[in-house]
Symmetry: C2
């Protein structure tokens, strides 16, 4: 058994996007085993357990990931993750992977795949709501699939916006109001909000939205009226209804699960698509265990290794 | 983060039994978080993911365990396990534990707790069906709670029976027919059978049975008529109905979930008990994630440690 640390070293988003796209295609074809993620609540946050088996990559395993919003004050990241890989022939654990930064990357990659297939344009103005690790991962990943003419960024803390802009100096990047940020071709929302912060009237026709922030029951970023105007694609219906952007509107009767347009996997394999150039499309991302396995497969070619005795 | 290897070194079953009994008591009182274990099927077996949070021990984590019956021919154990422990304050992974032998011990300990509370006698003839690692763990664990006058052992392979008898030379131990082995005070069944091998008429009144072998859909060891004669206690109702001894009879309409007498946790805290000295009692064990956390807590005081960088 081997422990992999610093596993994002040397990973290129182009390769990660491709691997994640392939995993979504397998999901769309029904070729994966992936029970819905399981939540356990701790005193100051929660952790999620995400098992899966991806036959096309001959990889199986479990990602374990926490979400603790108060962690930064304690000197730890909000989200930390570990992935355990099992040999598919014998079930023997073969690897334990530090998956904290991989989790950022694989979520960014899902957004990039959604943007590639669902954006109405290839040259885009990218609106970004939030300035944290996931906002940065979305921009990095999307930049490999779409040509970014301009980035509009909105966040609560000026110093975080400056840091964000410094990181993406290759693109014209300017701080905007939340309303003006929504005036874009592709919008990415990455906040931990529990009330809608994006009003429906701010979004013009033809916009594609990656709704990333909502990943637990009670979280939502978008006005439910916006969901009803749009084609909503989810990564996985069971997970999305439980904990995605649609979870609160569905539980309050303001959106119907039956109105979900399809999955990103179905979009990738071509059985579902954007209805027309003026349609508003939304990708509701909760995060799939198969994304974690796809990136683990790549990461195991790069990370520093520590050998561990097992059994 | 630390990796613990050889974690059963120095563990005493008396201590393990006590910790597991305490975990069952917490379960009986509704003081634990433990979603049902999740199964993923691999080409030659399966793996189970078992998250839990046990507030009384301030421990949370996930056990990942496979079952691959053809592994011994490939040089690996049938069952191998790894437990990941998370800090309950921050969700940070703090330990990865080699839990293969711990899994044997914590299952043995559950059988010992069941025997302690449900056996009609304190001095017993112990019948053992099967000769593998779990049969041995059951005997070792039960011997700490009940006084074993004699062991009757039945298995398919004479060399395995000899090895078993050599291990337990402190007890009068004799090979018996399967029918005669069932003539005992406490019977332990530990086979991977998919058809009933224990006939109801072989079991006399007052016997207690630990039904250990059935731990996946389709597995069963006991005649359903025997279940209907007995008080059946389970470790966890959802898991037992899905994958315990009762799973096949319930799915075939030969036993009713409503007839389950209660949980071992309820027995430990005294809200349920053996109806009378002549009752046949059955403990249907599927294995709980809280047992894994309870033994992990002890094991982390003993195992060899390898420091791992995280995050």
């Amino acid at each position: 058994m081997q422990y992999y640390t610093d596993t994002d070293m040397g990973l290129d988003f182009r390769q990660v996007n491709l691997a994640v796209e392939s995993a979504f295609a397998d999901h769309g074809r029904g070729l994966v085993q992936m029970p819905p993620k399981v939540y356990v609540t701790l005193p100051y946050g929660d952790f999620r357990t995400m098992p899966a088996y991806l036959p096309s990559l001959a990889i199986a395993g479990v990602k374990i990931v926490n979400v603790h919003p108060d962690n930064p004050a304690k000197g730890y990241p909000t989200v930390m993750a570990l992935t355990v890989i099992l040999d598919i022939e014998t079930g023997r654990p073969t690897a334990v992977i530090n998956a904290t930064r991989l989790t950022d990357m694989r979520t960014g990659a899902a957004g990039a795949v959604a943007g590639k297939y669902l954006s109405a344009r290839k040259e885009i103005v990218l609106g970004v709501i939030g300035t944290g690790r996931q906002a940065q991962a979305q921009v990095s990943a999307i930049s490999r699939e779409l040509s970014i003419r301009q980035i509009k960024i909105w966040g609560r803390k000026p110093e975080h916006i400056r840091r964000f802009a410094d990181r993406f100096m290759d693109f014209p990047c300017r701080e905007s109001s939340i309303e003006d940020t929504c005036d874009c071709d592709v919008l990415v929302t990455t906040t931990p909000s529990r009330t809608p912060i994006i009003r429906s009237e701010w979004i013009h026709e033809g916009t594609h939205i990656n709704a990333i922030g909502a990943d637990a029951p009670g979280k939502e970023e978008l006005d439910p009226a916006l969901l009803r105007r749009a084609q909503v694609f989810v990564d996985d219906p069971v997970q999305a209804i439980h904990s995605g952007e649609v979870n609160v509107p569905i539980s309050q009767g303001m959106y119907r699960a039956a109105d979900i347009a399809g999955t990103l996997g179905e979009v990738v394999i071509g059985t579902k698509k954007r209805a027309g150039p003026d349609t508003i499309t939304i990708f509701d991302s909760t995060g799939l265990a198969i994304q974690d396995l796809a990136i683990a497969k790549i990461a195991m070619q790069h990370g520093k290794i520590i050998d561990l005795p097992f059994p």
